[in-house]
Amino acid sequence: MTIRANVLECRDLKKSFGDNEAVKGVGFRIAEGETYGLLGPNGAGKTTTISMVTGLLERDDGEVTVDGQPLTTASVDAKRAIGLVPQDLAIYPDLTAKENLTFFGRLYDMPSGDLKARVAEVLEIIGLTDRADDRTEEFSGGMKRRLNIGLGLLHKPRLLLLDEPTVGVDPQSRNAILESVELLSGEGMAVLYTTHYMEEAERLCDRVGIIDLGEIKAEGTRRELVQMVGQHDRIRLQATGPCEAGVEALAALAVVKEAGVRDGGIEMLVDDADQSLAQILGKVSGAGVTVTSVDVDEPNLESVFLHLTGRALRD
């Protein structure tokens, strides 16, 4: 594994609104080509964090560096490296898709020639080439969302920040959005992705920070998180034959944490079901047990969140 440069580093971000401490010391890093997810329920402080990271919100404390440059609300040049996709649509309804893109492109000082080509390219990426010259007020919700994203990646930012980009989007558009994020990160863009959809975080993010009540409770790859909270994959085997003997045989395997006979089958907790399943099936059949079906239950981020906060993600 090559060591990749950090595109975003932020430390100890704090922000209060009156008595309400919205963010209480958040910090993380994102390397190039990495997708980092901030997963947390509504009101956890995701948008406040992203606003501080983009220099839109005056922070009470903490530091942000983007591509090695410190970034504050007064920064101008450092902002060239970021592309923001705000949670609420931020497009002119009375301008066309192309006009919206061109306008914001100019604000990034893109030369006209490049801008024209890039606008066409982005329209292609977000699938709005056909509707380029229509006013956006006539667009469907999903199309507006896609344009909202297109505006953020127009100038090929080093860091793309997407704040809940799929809220209220139809499944088809949602899939298109997720695919384009995957594509971008494949091209080396660093992505900060906030969501309260566990599935999106699992699918897109290389690393996930779990945020609740303004604090990052835990951070790591999905597997790291799962293990950190002591969660294991659960394997259920429907089986006939000497199940007791099978359980005894499994005790020899280090990956198997617990095993027992349940409801005419064997149930066990293991570290990594994907890697150990073949081994386990070998041991069990070696003990004379006939397996009729296998059921693997991997713990997800939802259960990690539940474990960490005692609350469900979608309260």
Partner: protein, 389 residues
């Protein structure tokens, strides 16, 4: 450069809404036309006449009245109409000529005409005019009465002799001359004063509507998105302001050229007038940016925009000439100068009345630039706060 991009987009969006074109260009010129033709210059009292008589003497009287200087004559078809119009204050007085006017006079009897007015004071200005028309008409008749009363001849003989005498005897005449050059606003053409007042009123009012655009930009989230690009707040604000500054400038220019061509309004030295317009448009757009950064709701801003646009204009001498404040209410004259309008109007006075040039208006332009600067600085400070807190 980015400010121009923002200004351009702002303008483009402004033009997309066709009602804006109406407000900025069609409405002001209509209003100047209407107000100018209705009230501009002419403050002569109005006399309504209802002539029931059908003889030549009655008709002559109407002609004599129409020839009276310093009075407008409007004919009415019915007595009720005339009286009602006087009662509503739309005429200073009304004159009723009776049906038997000719017949009575020709018989050598006295008659009377009725002058209807709401008060003796209001009738005053007109009654001397009416009186002199009556005097003119009744010269021959009255001489005949005199002949009869002196018992040197009959009424009929008197009429005949007086008729002849009136041909031979020269009139005693009045020669009117004026001392010095007429100056001040009495010299201004029918549309002049109102065109300058309206121009400043509209340029400011139209600029203030830009505040709604800024509020919209904020509410759409676009302002925040712009903030996330490498664009400083002042550029955003100057850009948004510049879009409307261009509109105000175009509108002012349109009013100036339009009134110059169609009503021959005197705007004074063109360079000076252009400079006033440019600086005043800056003030207007600055005020709009300040309002746009202070308010959250564009409907509220629109209501307050009308209040401020009309109110400041009224206070600043766009409805009642400043010279009248100066004379009738000195305190008000001082208060007027908290508005940019008063300074703009004074600058125009320098050009139009005193035949000054750009150089003479510089002190006023400097004050107006001060207004613009303060507005923009406050707006930038405030917008930074609302966008990043």
């Amino acid at each position: 450069m980015k400010a121009f991009t923002i200004a351009g987009t702002n303008l483009r969006r402004w033009l997309r809404d066709r009602s804006n074109v109406f407000w900025a260009f069609i409405f002001p010129i209509l209003l100047i036309l209407v107000l100018g033709s209705a009230f501009g210059g002419s403050s002569d009292p109005r006399l309504g006449i209802h002539n029931e008589g059908d003889g030549p003497l009655a008709a002559d009287l109407v002609v004599l009245l129409e020839e009276q200087p310093g009075m407008q004559v409007i004919q009415f078809e019915s007595r009720e109409d005339l009286v009602a119009t006087v009662e509503r204050g739309e005429l200073e007085a009304g004159l009723l000529i009776p049906v038997d006017y000719d017949a009575t006079l020709r018989q050598g009897a006295m008659t009377s005409v009725e002058l209807v007015a709401r008060s003796a004071e209001e009738a005053q200005a007109i009654s001397s005019n009416v009186q002199s028309a009556l005097t003119q008409q009744s010269v021959v008749l009255r001489a005949a009465f005199f002949v009869e009363s002196e018992e040197v001849g009959s009424f009929a003989e008197g009429l005949e002799t007086a008729e002849t005498a009136s041909m031979n005897v020269a009139d005693v005449t009045v020669v009117v001359s004026s001392a010095g050059e007429p100056v001040g606003f009495f010299q201004l053409g029918r549309f002049d004063a109102s065109a300058q007042q309206q121009m400043l009123l509209f340029v400011f009012l139209t600029s203030l509507t830009a505040s709604a655009a800024l509020i919209q930009t904020r509410r759409l989230g676009v302002a925040r998105r712009m903030m996330s690009t490498p664009t400083p707040v002042r550029t955003i604000l100057v850009g948004e302001g510049m879009g409307r500054f261009a509109v105000a400038l175009l509108q002012g220019l349109f009013i100036m050229v339009g009134t110059l061509v169609f009503f021959n309004v005197n705007w004074g030295d063109p360079v000076g007038a252009a400079a006033i317009l440019i600086v005043f448009s800056l003030v207007g757009s600055g005020a709009a940016m300040l309002m746009g950064s202070l308010f959250e709701n564009d409907q509220q801003a629109a209501g307050l925009g009308v209040l401020l646009g009309m109110g400041l204009a009224a206070l600043g001498g766009c409805m009642v000439p400043l010279i009248i404040f100066e004379f009738f209410a000195p305190t008000l004259f001082q208060v007027a100068h908290i508005t940019p309008h008063a300074w703009g109007l004074e600058a125009f006075d320098v050009l139009v009345i005193e035949n000054g040039t750009l150089v003479d208006t510089l002190p006023f332009l400097a004050i107006l630039l001060g207004f613009a600067g303060v507005f923009y600085l406050l707006a930038i400070w405030r917008l930074r706060r609302v966008l990043t807190r």
